[in-house]
């Protein structure tokens, strides 16, 4: 479904990603773990199209999307849940959702209701402005907003960041449920050990801008291994 091949990217010509290769199969939940500053966010942004790679290719659904602008990638089925949620603060919950929905040609009518099953709080607060909600609620809204676009692939950038532990766990569970119920493929980057363990089917480890290891389901049982990539 997603194939990243030899990507080199960065800001102002200082490379942050170097020769990154990874792939995600349909229906998988794949994690990318690594410490702060190894380039995880840049990786997600490169896949979404917000950062242009200097070299390498990104393939999605069998098509080369390396030069495709982000809005077209979104329309072809990429859903993005950024670090810090990035809710539109002055739009209401409902309008935020409609922003997600607006690319979905009306086929999301059912999903629109579905997301309220996952996140009933959003139903209650339809008319509230996004900016006035708590961090956890905003995270749910961000996920819901991505979901109503009916994406094939969801990209999450540090879903646990700035969220209290209880909500973090709930979000991990929600994501697994979404993956099972809707068959949505998920790629997430994270540095929270428990989130990685709870969510991922398999996981890449990143260090200094490149992929250094790949961990299968069994490796993920082993906290020591994971911790070795998160701590020095």
């Amino acid at each position: 479904m997603l194939e990243v091949d030899g990507v080199r990217a960065g800001y102002d010509s200082t490379p942050i990603l170097r020769n990154v290769d990874l792939s995600v199969e349909e229906g998988e939940i794949v994690g990318v773990m690594g410490k702060n500053g190894v380039g995880k966010s840049t990786l997600v942004k490169t896949i979404v199209g917000l950062v242009e790679p200097d070299e390498g290719t990104v393939r999605f659904d069998g098509r080369d999307v390396t030069d495709t602008p982000p809005h077209e990638r979104a329309r072809s089925g990429m859903g993005y849940i950024p670090q810090g949620r990035e809710i539109f603060p002055d739009l209401t919950v409902e309008q935020n959702l409609r922003m997600g929905e607006s690319i979905n040609d009306g086929s999301s009518a059912l999903l629109y209701e579905d997301v309220f099953d996952y996140f009933p709080i959003l139903d209650e607060r339809r008319g509230q402005k996004g900016g006035t909600m708590s961090g956890g609620q905003q995270q749910m809204l961000a996920i819901a907003r991505a979901l109503v676009a009916n994406p094939d692939l969801l990209l999450l950038d540090e879903p646990s960041e700035g969220i209290q532990p209880s909500i973090v766990q709930q979000i991990s569970e929600d994501m697994r449920a979404i993956n099972e119920d809707l068959g949505t493929t998920i790629l997430f980057v994270e540095q929270n050990l428990s989130v990685i363990r709870d969510m991922a089917d398999r996981c890449y480890a990143m260090e200094r801008g490149t992929i250094v290891d790949e961990l299968g389901a069994t490796d993920l049982e082993d906290e020591e291994t994971i911790a070795s990539y998160l701590a020095v």
Binding site: I121, T132, S134, E161, G162, P165, I167
Partner: protein, 265 residues
């Protein structure tokens, strides 16, 4: 909540009068019935918050509990809808931020915002040049650089520092004001484990060696356990619990608000 009338109580006014005369010299910071509303949202609701001199206090609470708002009310970046703030016995509620800073308050914001065009040394010079000149200035700048752990990078442009180093630089700058109380808003957000350890060390060092009182906002309880002796839990804009880290960690109510998801008000 049952303590809503406190702000109006003449007995409390009495207390503030005592504060002003310096009777209660240990309390360095005190808020009385402080309340902040943003439109329909009450971010801080009638909070009484005291900090002792030399204390290292952590302020924790779920997202949206009002931690940053409280901090901004203390520094004067926001002005309260109701209530007063006292610092070292003086009512500072109406003061501009810089006046509060000059009285010995200092803050490091959540997002690092060093002056990127300036070198590390010039960044440090900015707070110190107001306080000292000549040899004393040089000395204090050297101290501040050392306190930030950045003596070796003094002549590097601040924009070239890593995220963690920028946080360190900022703590160093905030500390160089020689404050009695230093407020830190999520000083380790987004930092790696070893960077966290570095920051924790800086904080405890400043607290012990210079007896600077700290209020640290943090949601990483491990980090809190590492540095704090006393913890205040905010929840939905109100003071929920206060106590030692052990008391708080074992408190079932705190467990509930942290682990049991959003509670309805």
């Amino acid at each position: 909540m049952s303590d809503t009338a406190d702000g109006m109580d003449p007995a409390v006014k009495q207390t503030s009068a005592e504060l002003a005369t310096g009777v209660d010299t240990d309390t360095i910071l005190k808020t009385e019935g402080i309340t902040k509303r943003f439109g329909g949202l009450t971010a801080i609701d009638d909070v009484d918050f005291d900090v002792e001199a030399g204390e290292l206090r952590c302020l924790i609470g779920p997202n949206g509990a009002g931690k940053s708002t409280l901090l901004n009310l203390i520094t004067g970046a926001l002005s309260p809808s109701e209530g007063e703030v006292y610092f070292r016995g003086h009512d500072i509620t109406e003061m501009d931020p810089h006046e509060r800073i000059r009285r010995g308050l200092s803050i490091k914001f959540q997002v690092p915002s060093v002056y990127e065009d300036l070198t590390v040394r010039e960044n440090v010079r900015l707070p110190i040049q107001r306080l000292a000149s000549g040899a004393e200035r040089d000395e204090r700048m050297a101290d501040a650089l050392a306190a930030a752990g950045l003596s070796a990078k003094a002549d590097v442009a601040a924009s070239a520092l890593s995220h963690g180093e920028q946080q360190q630089l900022e703590i160093g700058m905030a500390a160089s004001l020689d404050p009695d109380l230093l407020l830190l808003d999520e000083p380790v957000a987004g930092l790696s484990v070893d960077e966290r350890a570095e920051i924790a060390e800086r904080i405890t060092q400043l607290n012990e060696e210079r007896s600077i009182a700290f209020v640290v906002i943090e949601h990483d309880t491990d980090f809190v356990a590492e540095i704090a002796d006393h913890v205040t839990v905010l929840h939905q804009g109100e003071t929920f619990r206060e106590g030692s880290i052990e008391e708080i960690e074992t408190d079932p109510e705190v467990q509930r608000i942290y682990l049991g998801g959003e509670t309805d008000a």
